[in-house]
């Protein structure tokens, strides 16, 4: 598939989008393509521009520069009512004085369809989100999770081409959140509606999205599948924001090797920097190999186990390599390994850092 084909097949196309609030630049030259039927998450810390981007796509806060195409139509200057989308807000924005059924049917009544048809569609939608028989209640009589489903049903009522979700789960309890996110994902796949969800919760994004758009300071840092984002973060920001990551100050010593203090590390990828360049070496605590370390494993070191923090399914150990002048490195040791190996503070153990789990980033970034 050529680039032109990709663009042609993309349902949502955003080009060169920029927006400022006074002196603050919320979006800087953002390009994005979303394919039909895809579930995309905008992920980033608060103030990164993810909600601004969503609201620009919806036409609620129009962009200053750039273009937006939805379904092949240029909607860059169109008001929200001319764009084809349904939206669910964090607050749900349910109309408190209307019953659940009236809320769901709110957008249908305007289309001059027979009453019977509307009622049937409302019943169908309520069944779809798992709330049959609840139509006569008022939103205030429902739980948070139920309100969220009503909001979803209302957004889907007019069969929009694009479903926008603005932190739809963050007002809910942790348990309900996990259940609803699985349900929403299943529903989205069943209906095949192109969906964009804004979230600051990386776990949510990793669990739900086909692709994740990681944003920071108004720019897109990386776009990729959850696995790509997690395993192959392209920038130090992504590496730091998604999952846990230890950053070590290092110096390039060869095409595939860096030195951290007195320790030499082999990395799988060419850092692409000259020898002597200061860089950051990044590794995930859970990637540290603590058992069955082969004698000839690369990046193998002896380290003393320092503080151990019990975190339920695993312990986070602070490892101090025996070599003098080496930094302390965090490693996650599973509960199983803890038990089998009898790890305790003060032990000296052999650990290894698999080269393919190590990433090298320019030192300037943090």
């Amino acid at each position: 598939m050529t680039v032109a084909d990709t663009i042609a097949s993309s349902f949502l196309r955003v080009r060169g989008l920029g927006k400022s609030f006074g002196a603050f630049q919320a979006l800087k030259d953002v390009d994005l393509d979303v394919a039909r039927g895809e579930f995309v998450c905008f992920l980033g810390p608060s103030g990164c521009g993810k909600t601004t981007l969503l609201r620009a796509i919806a036409g609620l806060d129009p962009q200053d520069q750039g273009t937006i195409h939805i379904g092949g139509r240029d909607v860059s200057k169109a008001p929200p009512s001319e764009r084809d989308f349904g939206i669910v807000f964090q607050s749900y924005a349910l109309f408190p004085n209307l019953t659940v059924a009236k809320n769901v049917g709110y957008g249908l009544v305007n289309r001059a369809r027979p009453r019977r048809e509307i009622d049937a569609r409302v019943a169908e939608l309520l069944a779809l989100v798992g709330l049959p028989e609840q139509g006569t209640k008022f939103p205030g009589q429902l739980s948070g999770g139920q309100q969220q489903r009503v909001a979803l049903a209302r957004a889907l009522a007019t069969s929009p081409g694009l479903l926008l979700l603005d932190e739809p789960l963050s007002a809910l309890d942790a348990k309900v959140r996990v259940r609803l996110r699985d349900e929403m994902r299943a529903l989205q796949q069943r209906l095949g509606v192109t969906t964009i969800m804004v979230t600051h919760d990386q776990e949510e994004a990793l669990a739900m999205a086909d692709r994740i758009v990681v944003m920071n300071h108004g720019v897109i840092e990386q776009v990729g599948t959850p696995e790509e984002i997690y395993r192959r973060p392209e920038t130090a920001f992504v590496a730091d924001f998604v999952g846990h990551m230890t950053f070590l100050d290092a110096v390039v010593t060869g095409p595939r090797s860096v030195k951290v203090g007195a320790l030499d590390f082999i990395v799988a990828e060419d850092a692409g920097a000259e020898v002597g360049t200061p860089v950051k070496l990044a590794l995930r605590p859970e990637a540290v190999q603590t058992r069955g370390v082969a004698a000839d494993a690369p990046n193998r070191f002896d380290a003393r186990v320092g503080d151990l923090a019990f975190l339920g399914a695993f312990c986070r150990a602070q490892l101090a390599p025996i070599e003098p002048g080496a930094p302390i490195i965090a490693a996650d040791i599973s509960a199983n390994a803890m038990r089998d190996l009898g790890v305790a503070t003060g032990d000296v153990r052999s650990v290894a850092f698999p080269p393919e789990a190590l990433r090298v980033f320019a030192a300037a970034a943090s």
Binding site: A58, G59, L60, G72, R73, A78, P79, P80, S81, E82, R83, F85, G86, I87, F89, S91, A93, F95, P96, N97, L98, Y106, G107, N110, R111, F138, P139, G140, Q141, R154, A155, A157, T158, P160, L164
Partner: protein
Amino acid sequence: MSELATSAPATASAMRFRRAGLGEAQVAGALIAVVCLVLILIIALPLWTLLSKSVQNVDGQFVGLANFAAYARSPTLVASLVNSVMVAGLATAIVIPLAFVYAYALTRSRMPLKGLFAAAALLPIFAPSLMAALALIYVFGNQGILKSWMMGASLYGPIGIVVAEALYSFPHALLILTTALSLSDGRLREAADALGTTRRRIFWSITLPGARYGLVSAAFVVFTLVITDFGVPKVIGGQFDVLATDAYRQVVGQQNFPMGAVVGLVLLIPAVAAFFVDRRAQKRQTALLSARATPYFPKRDRQRDWSLFAFVALVGTAIVATYGVAVWGSFVRYWPYNLSLTLNNYDFASVEPTGWEGYVNSLKLAGLTAVIGTAFVFVGAYLIEKLTVFPRLRGFAHFLAMLPMAVPGLVLGLGYVFFFNASWNPLNVLYGTLVVMVINTVAHYYTVAHITALTSLKQIDREFEAVSASLKVPFWRTFSRVTAPICMPAILDIAVYLFVNAMTTVSAVIFLYGSSTKLASIAIVHMDEAGAVASAAAMGTVIMATAIGVKLLHVALNALVFGRLQRWRVR
């Protein structure tokens, strides 16, 4: 060919969409423009005419500040200024401490009968200001039952004005101070208690600083109310001239419009100052209180509760008793010599050519003001708060809506005389009609109504309009189906506020009524001038009964109807 076939429906649907969407934006723009135009017409232009009148001579030629110079050279006018400032200052100095302790008792003690005394203190709001003056005349006037208490001093002058104004302005100060005192963080008290702080120190270090801005704001409001009030000095002032009566005499008596305008502008100074002080105070007050503040629940304390109760009972009874005497007097045959009861004083036709017609006019004015004013204010506030198009125009409309707060009724009334009476103005056919009085009353009380509407609109989820747009439902449909029903309590509040004020106002409409549109409140002034004090009190009683009746209806409506109609509010 195939290209044409596929693109044609898409273009058609896009055009249909565009037409529908443009329509909505155009409607929004047109409505906002209408709101701006109306506000310019009813607020900005009358004020502008007042300003320009003050720099013109009687023939309408520009004379710069000559009128102001003439004012400064006129000893009688300067004396009025001194009188006004003195009277307003004294009334403020009396009202603020009393209202503060009263508010403190209502919010920070566990004294009994709080609701009753809160209601008692609000009584003056439901009567024209001059009702307090009439009541004082019954008690301490020349024929007063307690005249001896005056020890030879005359009630008719500064003493009468100060006391009557204190009574009249008390509830206004109380409302502000109650709000200020109830907006305090209970956690501060708990922290202080935990640290073993003495009660005296808690009062000086937590309570008073917390209410500081409320005190400043209340003081300015009372000062402005008093200095611009026309009814009290007219009835009880005797030979003691103040600015408000000067303005009336210059305009109505001597037809000296430029000098009237100058007096009006002088009156504008404290009001404008109060406006800005209040805005600053409100900003600080909100900053003082975090979203996580918890309300303070006072603990029982016999000594404090009963001493505060004694104070509140004394002040509350004094207020009710004063107005009660005026009501009683209105039923008395010949005060104070024949105290047998009669309805003769309610036969207004015997002392006033318009008779009961004034009351009917007042009802018409109040009804129309409530209906038209509420509809306009609420729709205007909705457009300003909830729409996103034309931000500059909406900002301008909001500015105009906030202006009347800084303009006393008397000054606005003067502006209306100059604007609607002008020969160049095609709208001058309205002068003297009920229409212009309705417009004036809406404008006069616009700001409080506007703020009430804004406050309730701000509490509504700001995404309703966004959701509606995504569902392709136009905003006016969401307004009528969702926003207005949700805000119904606030809408009723606004309607009752406008009705009560339209019933009781004197200061603005005194310049605007015509021979067939004299109001009940103006009839009181005239009956008092004619020496028919009992009939004046009777008319005051009728106004008061109507205003209180409407308020009680409001309370009942809120309790009964909204319980059923607004079932969704109940969880």
